[in-house]
Amino acid sequence: MSDIPEDLLYTEQHEWIRAEGETGVIGITDYAAEQLGDVTFVELPAPGNELNAGEAFGEIESVKAVSDMYAPADGTVTEVNERLADEPGLVNQSPYCDGWICKVSLAETSQLGELLSPESYAKLLEEAGD
């Protein structure tokens, strides 16, 4: 059973975002990391990049698969998780903490209302499991 923290919001493409005021921290979910297998490389966005909700902003690779990461909301990248360059496995070990991808300064915090709640995301996974 996948870990789905209560204090986060989710996308249908399995990203999460933690809103801290105007800033959002973005990562991929435990389920997504599990599906990919051992992550070998994360193509990080550059600080200053503009993200648009629903659009791909980077790629994440394992040995046998590659997948785009989609922005949960509009915003500007302020910081990326440099540790992932040498330790991409953090995404598997700690998807919600040490394995975060990037931080963004949110364009409109109201956009977050359109994202999935933990309950809705759990339901999505349950349906996918059928």
Partner: protein, 443 residues
Amino acid sequence: MAYVSNTDEERRQMLDALGMESVDELFEDIPEDLRCGETDVPEGRSEDAVHRHLHWLSEKNAAHLTLFLGGGFYDHYTPAAVDALLRRGEFCTPYTPYQAEVSQGTLQAIYEYQTAICRLTGMEVSNASLYDGGTALYEAMMMALRITGRNKIIMDSGVSPIYRNMLQCYTSNLKVDFVEVPVRHGQTRRDLVAESLDDETAAIILQNPNFFGVIDNHSDVARMAHEVGALAVMSCYPVSLGLLKTPGGMDMDIATGEGQSLGLPLSFGGPYLGFMATRREFIRKMPGRIAGATVDREGNRRYVLTLQTREQHIRRESATSNICTNEALCALGALIYLSLLGREGLKQVAGLCADKAEYARQRLEAIPGVEVMRGAPTFNEFCVGLPIDAGEAVGRMIEQGFAAGFPLGRYYPEMSRYLLVAVTEKRTKAEIGRFADALEGVL
């Protein structure tokens, strides 16, 4: 029948096991009206009969000519050990090394090949090889388009016209803007390059030595490209790298080339070997297979194909390229050639090529009415102006037993009196002398 092991009796047993009377039953999925009758292929022949036929065909080719013909494809000597090793069935008859545990021979060889190419070109990473020098240059161009997200390509006209034709062909369904920059006295025109480079430019494509045999130091051109955020791509002749400044030394972003000169026969155009090397930061944008070192469960150093997520069997239509094979056996041949020659041998062969070309140049220059393009330095190939049409001169030289060179008029109509002459280490002083005498005689 040839190459089938089973006897009629064994086939009978197998059909019995399937509960069938005849092999025909296995083909019942093919609708009756779609089956073909007897094809117009001749009846099979014995091995010696086919060998005789092929031998007869081979004799209808003029492989006896003494070659002063190059154009990017050269008549070098190949040490016997290269082919002796390439003929080993264990190298020749496996598939691509997907099952790494039983393909360590091929995989380690690819890793060594990649290392040799990096050391030869002065670049940081190499792939496991591509089809040939032309497709390698095309792939380098596509890579530059991907990396920069731009669509303009500046093409130095010293790049082989054979390759330029291929790049034009491949991009006919894509949106790529080509700007061709002419050369002066065979050399890249910095002024025109500077004018053409802008912030739409994905890459400038160069060749060294270029099609006219002219050598250059393109460091300044690379710098100009980098100033506008474009990449510098160079196709090069690997034997020349025994002496010449490397693409890495000129700060090129992608180096490619034709590896035929590294121990592979001319074979009427193939199979050849495209090599490609680049900066480490671009490795994920590079097409083709890549071998990487790893360990097995016991901690022994081993090798696997790595970064396969770039490839078409995973990424399908978004793959870095549609290429799925390398030219593994040809790459192995090049590696064995480079290992046999080693650091001194490669320097020696490059030096021999350059010295003998210089001698040929002096001999041809002494012929009345023949003018050697001097201005720019050359390596083992150079242009000479003749008093008559170069194509005509070549035709007359064939009767004298020489493939005298490549008449440039074919690709550069304004140069119809110019002949491109190539000299390798195989040409002796005596052959060069006879060549010069014969040329003097036919003019």
